[in-house]
């Protein structure tokens, strides 16, 4: 708590300094002191710097560099989760809890949207409020999609899976988490600055004209970008240099490969969205005209730069979910991961192709017509590497010995939902069909099937799968299974009818629609409420089991990967001694199956 207080204090001071500095210079040149957006922008950038110095940069880097006496925190127990802590397991929990909180918040916002859309006509909220709620729902959920799984399990589990003591850069790791609170603060600030209209995509020039909340959306996305890039550098370095002896690339668990691919995308592409956000802020607050057609700017420029990142970003949201699904399917089928190398190649193929599909978001934007052809082709080809992941999942289950526990159910849910998400993607990638479907509820259905059906179901699979590892206790299996079926049914009832709505003339991001669409919308809304209510059961299960679930040993699933060969939860440096990997993580079955890794017992000197 002291850390947060100090961060807020230093941040506020830096905010005021920023405002004063800008105001002072403005006064010098004969302008008024306060210019709302410019002052807020400079102040907020100051806040980020002050906050980071306050929470740990000063204590962890500056003092050491300047040879001042060190003051690093030694807290333990629950308190350490509120400090700048370099233990990757603490950082993982920090990410998980923070983003689960944000996920539930954005889910509540979705309930408001569906409440308004229950009937045609304006019923509960005015359009400005609706747009604001819709924009926040989208923005927060995208942030959750980008950061939750990698942040939580990339941090907590990945280093243990490869036999490392921690991440390659533990302090940088803590820093990438502490970028997150300002992200949330800016989103809250956007509400107090009248909100914003633009959805999570922030298209210019609406974004340069809408309410001041837009500025905070820009700041928020920009700040999250820092966190993603730093996190990606750390993940890549960790996987490249910290693998235990014997952990060759060909023996990496598939989840590690998924995070590796995700991190390549985050590292290479996040800068583009930061650029889009900076340009938009400068248009708003500083009188630049990047996107103002009347002054030589280009609205399409924004879309291009934005989607340079934001298409790869959807794979940032999905790949970890696919990785988790394959990981769990192998362990719960008790069979080697089928066509492991093909699956890895598939993931890397997705990573490569995702760089060259961005303009499929712009087929009806007025972009150069023939240029749509290459993007249609690359987009349709991306189904090939994705298909290899399906091959691996199905091949692994085939003739396996399936134990349908909650994590396995969620993993199979990923496969089922992502099948629908992937196939509907082909419809959207076809230029003529997209002329009808673009910007309709068909698209809303499609991306919820991929990002929620794939990514978020994957997140839940991961939470259940690694819950005993992280807490040392077991969740309630019965409640877990009930929650799975509840979520699967609620999810499909909510999003399947959206395809019909889109085909029949319901465009996205609207607070109101024509009466002929009312019946289906009512059904969707009721399903959405049902879906939303199911998360209460999840919360109850997690909280109750964390406190009084039955205690478990190191390996309740009998899985082979390294995180199950240490205590639950693992000790500070994960293993008593550095493990030596001697065989493939998925070498189930057959008499010749050896252990995946040997962990030397430390000399019993003390």
């Amino acid at each position: 708590m002291k850390t947060i207080g100090k961060g807020l204090l230093w941040g506020t001071i830096a905010f005021l300094l920023g405002v004063l500095l800008l105001g002072g210079v403005r006064l010098l040149f004969g302008r008024v002191f306060w210019e709302e957006e410019a002052s807020l922008m400079v102040g907020s950038l100051g806040f980020i710097i002050g906050w980071l110095l306050g929470v740990g940069v000063w204590d962890y880097w500056a003092r050491e560099w300047l040879n001042l006496p060190l003051r690093q925190n030694k807290s333990s127990g629950l308190a350490r989760y509120f400090t700048f802590n370099t233990d990757h397991k603490v950082v993982g929990i920090q990410y998980l809890v923070t983003f689960l909180g944000l996920f539930l918040l954005a889910g509540l916002l979705a309930m408001i949207l569906r409440l308004e859309l229950m009937q045609s006509g304006r019923d509960y909220v005015d359009s400005a409020t609706y747009n604001n709620v819709m924009s926040l729902h989208g923005t927060i959920m995208v942030f959750v999609g980008v950061a939750a799984t990698v942040g939580a399990f990339g941090n907590y589990i990945l280093p243990i899976m490869i036999g490392a003591e921690d991440m390659a850069f533990p302090r940088l790791n803590a820093l990438s988490f502490w970028f997150v609170p300002p992200v949330a603060l800016f989103l809250i600030a956007s509400v107090f600055a009248e909100g914003y209209d633009t959805g999570w995509t922030g298209y210019a020039p609406l974004s340069t004209e809408t309410r001041t909340g837009e500025l905070f959306y820009n700041l928020s996305f920009f700040t999250l970008g820092f966190s993603s890039i730093l996190g990606a550098i750390n993940m890549l370095t960790t996987v490249i240099v910290l693998r235990a002896p014997g952990m060759s690339w060909g023996r990496l668990p598939i989840f590690v490969w998924a995070v590796f691919g995700t991190s390549i995308l985050s590292l290479l592409f996040t800068q583009f969205v930061a650029l889009a956000m900076i340009m938009n802020m400068l248009d708003r607050a500083a009188g630049f005209v990047f996107f103002d057609a009347a002054q030589g700017g280009s609205p399409l420029l924004y879309q291009n730069v934005f989607w340079f990142y934001s298409h790869p970003a959807v794979y940032v949201m999905i790949l970890p979910g696919l990785g988790i699904a394959l990981e769990i399917i192998a362990h719960f089928s008790r069979k080697p991961l089928f066509a492991y190398r093909w699956a890895v190649a598939g993931m890397m193929g997705v990573v490569a192709l995702s760089a060259v599909v961005w303009a499929h978001h712009m087929f009806t934007s007025g972009m150069n017509g023939p240029l749509r052809i290459p993007f249609m082709i690359t987009t349709e080809l991306i189904s090939v590497p994705t298909g290899l992941v399906f091959l691996s999942a199905l091949g692994t289950m085939w003739e396996g010995r399936l134990r349908l526990k909650t994590p396995m159910l969620f993993a199979l849910g990923v496969i089922f939902n992502f099948l629908i998400g992937g196939i509907t993607g082909i419809f959207l990638s076809d230029v003529p069909v997209d002329m009808q479907l673009h910007d309709t509820f068909f698209v809303v259905g499609h991306f919820h099937y991929t990002i929620v059906g794939g990514g978020i179901f994957g997140l839940f699979a991961a939470i259940y799968y690694w819950f005993p590892k992280m807490t040392g206790r077991m969740y309630s299996e019965r409640q877990g299974q009930v929650q799975f079926w509840w979520m699967l049914i609620g999810f499909n009832l909510t999003f399947l009818p959206m395809f019909w709505l889109g085909m029949n003339g319901m465009n996205r991001r609207i607070a109101d629609y024509m009466p002929y669409l009312e019946g289906t919308n009512l059904f969707v809304s009721l399903s959405a409420f049902f879906l939303g209510a199911g998360f209460l059961l999840f919360l109850y299960n997690m909280v109750y089991s964390m406190v009084s679930g039955p205690e478990v040993g190191p390996n309740p699933w009998g899985a082979r990967t390294l995180e199950w060969q240490t205590t639950s939860p693992p000790p500070l440096l994960n293993f008593p001694e550095e493990p030596v990997v001697v065989s493939h993580p998925y070498a189930y079955g057959g008499v010749q199956a050896k252990e995946h890794a040997v962990i030397p017992v430390p000399a019993a000197s003390d």
Partner: protein, 288 residues
């Protein structure tokens, strides 16, 4: 052949055939009112038919495995040590690639080509300008111009060229019954060709409307115009009446010209006056 494989194969074939028969003819589209719409529906239908065996395969293997290979939750025996199969992986890769390439050509390139090849000579030009939150419509060949138009009239079986622009932010002109949309950009003109092929009116068919499809602010959902597709003679009559009514360039709202209870807002509210809150100019439009 092993029994599991044979069973899956049979279920898959049955499911695929049933799915193709059903989806190959099921009425899944809203009314179609333009020749482009027929092309686009055909492309959609083809994709749907191609998707059936793919989805059926995954679902069959998934479902069969769930039922057939399930063991007790506390079972701890391993499955067979099958790490993969080169022919299966290679075959999967080749077939999915072939399918993707096929889709690129048909309906992809073929459909796009057909869409471009639709007759475009001597179009009726209609300039549509999006403005928060209404459309301004001009028929330059007929000296007709409407600000805040609530309807447009189009002749059947004649190509229409929409010249689309925006006065402020990005909008998008979408007519669901035509299956076509194109964004309206500030500072640039975009075009959309469409040939209505079925007379009709938004009063009976709500997909016959221009709907803004790009988020443009608070009035976005209500940024609509009704579309009337008229037979040749009826369209000429309408033109003559419209010219008469505007009396040489005076601009009036089309709903006033057309008279009657025709504006979409009424339909949308169900007549209870519980309309959307809109600011400034847009609410005036509702009051008219």
């Amino acid at each position: 052949m092993n029994r599991n494989l044979a069973t899956v194969l049979i279920i898959w074939l049955l499911l695929s055939v049933a799915g193709i028969v059903w989806l190959g003819s099921a009425a899944i589209f809203p009314p179609s009112a333009a020749s482009e719409a027929a092309l686009i529906d055909d492309a959609f239908r083809l994709l749907l038919i191609l998707a059936v065996p793919v989805a059926a395969l995954v679902l069959t293997v998934l479902g069969y495995s769930l039922l057939r290979f399930r063991v007790a939750e506390d079972d701890d025996e391993d499955g067979p040590p099958i790490h993969g199969s080169r022919p299966v992986a290679m075959g999967w890769f080749v077939i999915t690639t072939a399918l993707a390439v096929f889709v690129v050509f048909n309906p992809g390139l073929k459909g796009l080509n057909e869409l471009e090849a639709v007759e475009r000579a001597d179009p009726l030009v209609i300039q549509v300008e999006g403005e928060q939150w209404h459309w301004n419509v001009t028929y330059p060949q007929h000296d007709l111009s409407y600000e805040r138009a609530l309807q447009i009239a189009l002749p059947v079986d004649q190509t229409v060229k929409f010249e689309i622009s925006s006065a402020d932010v990005i909008h998008s002109l979408w007519i669901p019954a035509f299956r076509m949309k194109m964004d309206a950009l500030p500072g640039e003109m975009t075009t959309l060709y469409v040939t209505p092929d079925e007379p009709g009116s938004f009063e009976t068919e709500p997909t016959l409307r221009v709907q803004c499809a790009e988020l443009c602010g608070t009035g976005h959902p209500r940024m609509q115009m009704g579309v009337r597709v008229l037979e040749g003679a009826a369209f000429e009559e309408w033109l003559a009446a419209a010219k008469e009514a505007t009396g040489g360039g005076m601009q009036m709202d089309m709903d006033m010209d057309m008279g009657g209870e025709t504006d979409m807002e009424m339909d949308m509210n169900g007549g209870d006056g519980n309309g959307m809150e809109m600011d400034g100019d847009a609410s005036m439009e509702m009051d008219q």
